[in-house]
Structures are given as structure tokens and as C-alpha cells.
């Protein structure tokens, strides 16, 4: 086990519930020290960093920039495994359509787009937005984060905006009216649109993989 004295920092920039993801990590790595923190030093000293996020993009980006977490996250990526979740993943893109357009961290090239009103499948099936519930995640690359997780396993999603990223950084796709990136990977960074902390056994396996992953 690599989780013996591992320290995991869950970045708290004032947006939403971090309790669940911290509890999920504690559940899969009982000997790890999981801290919910906004202290840059604590984040810098951690062995793993989780970059979560819920809520509206403009508020998220404002809080990220105000607290200097843009710099903190970019630095962490060069040093250790970082897991971005939901809006945390979206914040890593160049730009989001949400709130009439928001410039994001530009770690990954690509945009965050709205599913749109009147979303439907080609056969005419109407699709509700938010995309809420359990959908299949199709892995497009081999990655230590996918260890023990079946191809096309279902994870829990809840979002109205999706990531439109290049296939070169996409680690998994999902389909809901459009095919979008459900996971991104580059170096030490792994990002997921779904909520592993709410995705039962498969989600916990992904969190466990993160604890055991040593990065690039």
C-alpha cells in the first residue's frame, strides 16, 4: 500500500461541498491524511491534490483567482498527482460558455459548452438538462486511474455544461446528445466530469487508484 503516510489536500476555494470527496478518500485510504484546505503551503506540501468544484463558472473562477489557486494548481501539476472533479475539470479548459463567457485556466486547450435547450438524440428522444444520473464512461486510453474499472462502467454525472477537448488529452468519452470528454489526462493531471465520490464502487475504485497513482 502506498497510502501509508500519504497526505491528500482537497482544495477549498469556497465553492460547495468538499465533505463527500474527503470522506470518499478517507474511506479508500484509511491511513492517509486528508485535509480540506485553502492554505497554499498545505497544498504545496501534500502528496496528492484534489481540485473539486461545483456551482457557476464565473463565481468559481473568481474565487480561484482571488485566492491564487490558479498558480497553486498549475504548480501542483508539475510536482504530483492532481485529480480535478466536475467544475474543477471545466476550470482547467481555455474558456467556458457559462455566464456569457468566462476565461478559464487554459491548462487544456478546448472549451466548456452548454448542452443547449432542446437537446435530443438523432432518433428524436428528448434529453433533459442537466445531464443528471448514471451514464457510461468509455475509456479511450489505458491509464493507471482506470485500473479495476470496467470499460463502459457507469458513473454519476450532474452538469449542464460539457468539456469539448482534443482527443489527444481525452481519457474517456461519454455520450448525451453529443459525445464529450468525461475524463482528461496529461502528465500528473487527471480530470473527471463525473463525481467519483458519488459513483459507488466504481467511483471509490477510481479514488483508490488516485491514492495509489504516482503520477507520470
Amino acid at each position: 500500500m502506498t497510502d501509508f503516510r500519504i497526505r491528500i489536500a482537497v482544495i477549498d476555494y469556497g465553492m460547495g461541498n468538499l465533505h463527500s470527496v474527503a470522506k470518499g478518500l478517507e474511506h479508500v485510504a484509511p491511513r492517509a491524511e486528508v485535509v480540506i484546505t485553502s492554505n497554499p503551503e498545505e497544498i504545496a506540501e501534500a502528496d496528492r491534490v484534489v481540485f473539486p468544484g461545483v456551482g457557476a463558472m464565473r463565481d468559481c473562477m473568481a474565487e480561484i483567482r482571488r485566492g491564487g489557486f490558479d498558480v497553486v494548481v498549475q504548480k501542483a501539476i508539475t510536482q504530483k498527482p492532481v485529480l480535478a472533479i466536475c467544475v474543477g475539470m471545466q476550470a482547467l479548459m481555455s474558456h467556458s460558455e457559462e455566464n456569457d463567457g468566462v476565461e478559464c485556466l487554459d491548462v487544456f486547450p478546448g472549451s466548456v459548452r452548454h448542452f443547449g435547450k432542446s437537446l435530443s438524440e438523432p432518433d428524436g428522444t428528448r434529453l433533459k438538462v442537466p445531464h443528471m444520473g448514471w451514464n457510461q464512461v468509455h475509456q479511450t486510453i489505458d491509464h493507471p486511474m482506470w485500473r479495476g474499472i470496467d470499460q463502459d462502467e457507469r458513473f454519476y454525472f450532474v452538469h449542464s455544461y460539457y468539456v469539448d477537448a482534443d482527443s489527444s488529452v481525452t481519457a474517456a468519452n461519454c455520450h448525451y446528445g453529443v459525445t464529450f470528454s468525461a475524463a482528461l489526462a496529461a502528465g500528473n493531471l487527471f480530470a473527471v466530469q463525473f463525481h467519483p465520490e458519488k459513483s459507488h464502487t466504481a467511483g471509490l475504485q477510481l479514488l483508490k487508484n488516485f491514492v495509489n497513482w504516482r503520477g507520470e
Binding site: 433533459k128 445531464h131 448514471w134
Partner: protein, 257 residues
């Protein structure tokens, strides 16, 4: 790849205890919401809803602790409803580990509260619960109105128009309960469910009246619901979550099995 329809068991919780009983044969403490939630989680429930029916303020703190305990042990989405009146109430529940908060009467008294809540916390965590009762007579075009306080208080609001308005105000999901069907075990009000699902672009959870597995399937196939909520058929062990999912899948419904 298709989004699965969801099965959501619902627990009524008072002062931190499950009320109306949950009669599993092999559960340590059938009154402990966390124990029951764990059981449903293991059985494959897609989400869990806690409805807090506690009247007292002190009892509400108990609910927050219950949610905290649940979030430490159960890793599927949790919706908490009942007595949510302020943005602070929502913040407290979300911080305790709830994923969604269900707003009922407060939305009726102060519709802008829903807008404020969605702006502050995001639509994804704001569920508006609508208790609807048919007010049209036989032979008339069906019409339903919104009721509060377990169906005792009339609001005069048209249920379909209300759902449209709540979606417009930023609700992320509608929990629709037919007060006519609730407790009857004769199935959802499918006409009502269809009228609402066809009128809005956000997901709808059908509730009220489930007595067998065909009722659950009909909620999706005929009512157009995105999720189905039931209490007694699961609590009293008449059907397991797995049986329900397998049955719905056999009817051609996409499920997480």
C-alpha cells in the same frame, strides 16, 4: 451509451430516526437512516432521498448529523428535503454532505427563493418538490393544483404552470408527487407525470402510488419520468431494488444493473 433511469428509495426521518418503519429482516437498526441508507446503497439504489419531517429546531440539528454520518459511509447521491426555508439551511445541508436539497412550501410562499438558491448553489443541487392534486372533474380536461402541508393547504397554483415556472427560476429537477395517488399503491398519476415531463426540460422524479414493479416501469414508459421514487414497496421488503431494476430493464428501460 445512454443515461440510465434512476430508482430512488425515500425515507421519512424524524428526529434522526426512520419513521413509518422499515421492515428488513436482517438489519441491525431499522430506525437508523444511515443503516437503512447503507442497505439501499449495497442493494444498488441510484440515489437516496431523506425527507425530514421533524418539527422542532433541535431535531433539525440531528438531521444535519445524520447527513454527515451518511456521507461518510454511503457513496451515492443524497437528496434532503423538508423544512428548507433559508439559504443558510441549504448551505448547512450541502456542507454536511447532501448533494441536493429539496424545496417545497418555501418555494410556494417565496418563488424567488428558488432563483436565489440556484444562483448561489447551482441548479444541480436545487430540487423543487411539487405536491399536486387533480382539481378537474370527470369529463373535463385534466387539471392539477399545487398543495402544501401534505395536501392540506390549497395554493391555487396550476401544477404544470408551476413546474414550468420553477424550471425557469433555476430548479435543476422536479420531485413530483401525486397527492391523489400517494399511499394508494395503485400506481403513479401517469397523466399528471406526462403533462409535467412534456412541459419542462429538466429531469422529473415521479412519486406517489407505487404498489408494484409495473408501476415503476410505467412511470418511465408512460409518464416519461427520468427517475422513480418509492418508499413502502422497498421498506417492507415486497421488492428489492435489484428486482425493480431487472424488471424495468426487461421492459426495455436503460438501468444501472
Amino acid at each position: 451509451m445512454t443515461l440510465a433511469k434512476r430508482i430512488i428509495p425515500c425515507l421519512d426521518v424524524e428526529n434522526g430516526r426512520v419513521v413509518k418503519g422499515v421492515k428488513f429482516l436482517d438489519i441491525r437498526d431499522a430506525g437508523d437512516p444511515v443503516e437503512v441508507a447503507r442497505r439501499y446503497d449495497a442493494a444498488g439504489a441510484d440515489e437516496i432521498t431523506f425527507l425530514d419531517i421533524t418539527a422542532s429546531h433541535e431535531g433539525r440539528d440531528t438531521m444535519v448529523h445524520t447527513v454527515e454520518r451518511m456521507a461518510s459511509e454511503v457513496f451515492i447521491p443524497l437528496t434532503v428535503g423538508g423544512g428548507v426555508r433559508t439559504l443558510e439551511d441549504i448551505r448547512t445541508l450541502l456542507n454536511a454532505g447532501a448533494d441536493k436539497v429539496s424545496i417545497n412550501s418555501t418555494a410556494v410562499y417565496d418563488p424567488d427563493f428558488v432563483r436565489a438558491a440556484a444562483d448561489r448553489f447551482g441548479s444541480q443541487c436545487i430540487v423543487v418538490a411539487i405536491d399536486a392534486k387533480q382539481v378537474s372533474g370527470d369529463g373535463e380536461t385534466p387539471r392539477w393544483e399545487v398543495f402544501t402541508h401534505g395536501g392540506r393547504k390549497v395554493t391555487g397554483l396550476d401544477a404544470v404552470a408551476w413546474a414550468v415556472r420553477m424550471a425557469d427560476y433555476g430548479a435543476g429537477e422536479i420531485l413530483l408527487t401525486s397527492m391523489d395517488q400517494d399511499g394508494t399503491k395503485s400506481g403513479f398519476d401517469l397523466t399528471l407525470t406526462r403533462a409535467i415531463t412534456d412541459s419542462i426540460d429538466i429531469p422529473v422524479i415521479a412519486s406517489g402510488g407505487v404498489g408494484n414493479l409495473q408501476h415503476l416501469a410505467d412511470g418511465v414508459l408512460k409518464g416519461g419520468a427520468d427517475a422513480v421514487l418509492a418508499a413502502s414497496i422497498f421498506h417492507f421488503g415486497e421488492y428489492s431494488i435489484r428486482e425493480a431494476k431487472e424488471y424495468m430493464a426487461s421492459q426495455g428501460i436503460e438501468m444501472r444493473l
